[in-house]
């Protein structure tokens, strides 16, 4: 594909996410495509299966609050210092979404299995946890390299339909710089389709620059890119801008009730001026 065809508008970008898709999203400290999530909500997306890599935060809570989500797999759901995501917690209480509780390394292992085209990856630990009880898709075998009686968990591959995240920059060839945030690279390797919003598109080739190349996802793994300056607000983006903690706290307070969430979404997502 030509790089020129990879750069599209934000609405076109989220149009690539079909209803019912499984979609991997990064944790709040990585690179969150907040504006893309808003566009997805405006589109009225439904029945998503969210995969928190390894946890879900504001993005997940917005999508759940807006009724876009059928199920979630994550090791945790948290707004950090703002506590439990309120729409998630309400949805769980009411049984409105299905939850596949995981543990962080199991999410990474599942994605790595997909990255390697493997049916599974082994993982130590977990034995004795109730997580295992509720994850019939996780299997326990006896380690074939042990002396017998050495149980080990196998985690099946997690291949998301979509990986969606925000990064500092793409270059003119569609390569995306993510620095040390290698979980974004893992997501791009593992997913069928990878959609990225970036602060800016630079007239450069990151792969010919030894230093930049080290933190770059090659265009080979990128399906489409939108330039969305400030696209990670209000979460913030390392090296670019900090979190807007006041806005995050305001969300956490507003979203305590369904009505509060609706009022917040009307303004923050749909841009309707409150009456």
């Amino acid at each position: 594909m030509h790089a020129a065809d990879m750069v599209i508008g934000l609405d076109d970008l989220v149009a690539r996410i079909p209803d019912g898709a499984s979609i991997a999203i990064p944790p709040d400290y990585s690179g969150c495509a907040m504006e893309a999530v808003k566009a997805l909500i405006r589109r009225g997306c439904r029945d998503l299966h969210l995969i928190g890599v390894p946890s879900g935060g504001f993005q997940a809570d917005w999508l759940i609050g807006a009724g876009c989500v059928a199920s979630v797999e994550a090791a945790a759901m948290t707004l950090g210092e703002q506590g439990i995501p309120p729409r998630f917690s309400a949805a769980i209480r009411k049984g409105r979404i299905a939850m596949k509780d995981a543990t962080c390394p199991a999410i990474h292992a599942g994605l790595q299995a997909a990255e390697k085209g493997l049916p599974f990856m082994p993982l130590r630990g977990i034995l004795g946890s109730d997580l295992l009880k509720y994850r019939p898709d996780w299997k326990v075998i006896d380690n074939p390299f042990g002396g017998g009686d050495d149980p080990i968990v196998l985690i099946p591959a997690i291949q998301p339909d979509i990986a969606l995240f925000h990064a500092r920059a793409a270059d003119r060839n569609g390569n995306v710089w993510i620095g040390v945030r290698r979980e974004l690279m893992l997501m791009a390797h593992a997913a069928r389709t990878t959609l990225v919003t970036v602060e800016r598109i630079e007239d450069a080739d990151f792969l010919t620059d030894d230093t930049m190349a080290a933190g770059t996802i090659p265009a080979l793994y990128i399906s489409a890119i939108s330039a969305v300056p400030g696209g990670a607000r209000p979460i913030g983006l390392a090296g670019a801008y900090p979190a807007d903690t006041a806005e995050l706290a305001a969300y956490a307070a507003a979203a305590k009730t369904e009505d509060g969430f609706q009022r917040w979404a009307d303004e923050a997502i749909f841009g309707r001026v409150p009456a």
Binding site: I92, T103, G125, I126, N143, V180, M185
Partner: protein
């Protein structure tokens, strides 16, 4: 940046002091997300070690040396390169099982906690896992957790280089006895008696006849904590640092 006056050592600082002491002589401790008290202790222990102790503070942009993405903490732990880690729990029971998932029946929890994070894995792999929970009540320290996010102990045959080392609460310090599979009251915080601990604890534990008081940080360490360290903590835990020390960044 401003600092409010603090007259005397706070309960939070007692907990930080107790944890700091448990990190002496170690090479590398990692601190997960949502762990401001252990994070403070780790940064203080690093300063006191003269830089011998490495600290990997997840969620921090400056006190975090990892460069291989989200998986590195877990790989690093499995390599035996992390000596200590910290876990908390919405509930913790007397067998050191922890519940980070929720209260009541699963999955439709009546109170939902954030989730298990890496606990189900790291608890098994890191030698010295220090449990912490400021709220010490029969509601948090229970006979049996509603959901086992991570099991306190494992059968002999299972691969388990790691496990619980101690439990630090707002009232006391428990050590964990792996063989007996139960906690042992190690010290009570200043102003707290063994009876108060007993009253507040929902699980059975061993208690020697004489129980010392948790030793507070000495004044030099306390000064360090309230100045340099509190500002380091604020980078990752602004709300906590503001509440505890009035540090505003």
């Amino acid at each position: 940046m401003s600092t409010v006056e603090i007259d005397s050592i706070s309960r939070t600082e007692i907990m930080i002091g107790a944890i700091t002491r448990m990190l002496q002589g170690l090479r590398h401790v990692a601190v997960g997300n949502s762990s401001p008290i252990p994070g403070s202790a780790a940064l203080l222990a690093r300063a006191l070690s003269g830089g011998e102790l490495r600290v990997s503070l997840l969620g921090s942009r400056t006190h975090n040396a990892f460069t291989d993405g989200g998986r590195e903490l877990f790989d690093c732990a499995a390599q035996g390169r992390i000596d200590a880690f910290f876990l908390s729990g919405g509930q913790i029971d007397g067998a050191a099982n922890i519940n980070l998932v929720g209260l009541g029946d699963y999955p439709q929890s009546k109170v939902r906690f954030p989730g298990s994070f890496g606990s189900a894995y790291l608890y098994h792999l890191i030698p010295r896992v220090i449990l912490f929970r400021e709220e010490h009540t029969p509601r948090t320290l229970v006979p049996k957790v509603d959901f086992i996010s991570a099991a306190g102990t494992s059968p002999e045959n299972e691969y388990r280089p790691g496990g619980p080392y101690a439990l630090v609460t707002g009232l006391c310090v428990f050590s964990f006895d792996k063989n007996a599979c139960r906690f042992r009251l190690q010290s009570t915080h200043p102003g707290i008696g063994p009876a108060e601990v007993k009253e507040a604890t929902g699980f059975e534990y061993a208690a020697p006849e004489h129980i010392p008081t948790t030793e507070p940080l000495d004044s030099a360490a306390l000064r360090l904590l309230r100045t340099e360290i509190s500002r380091q903590v604020a980078e990752t835990y602004p709300g906590f640092a503001a509440k505890t020390w009035g540090v505003v960044i």
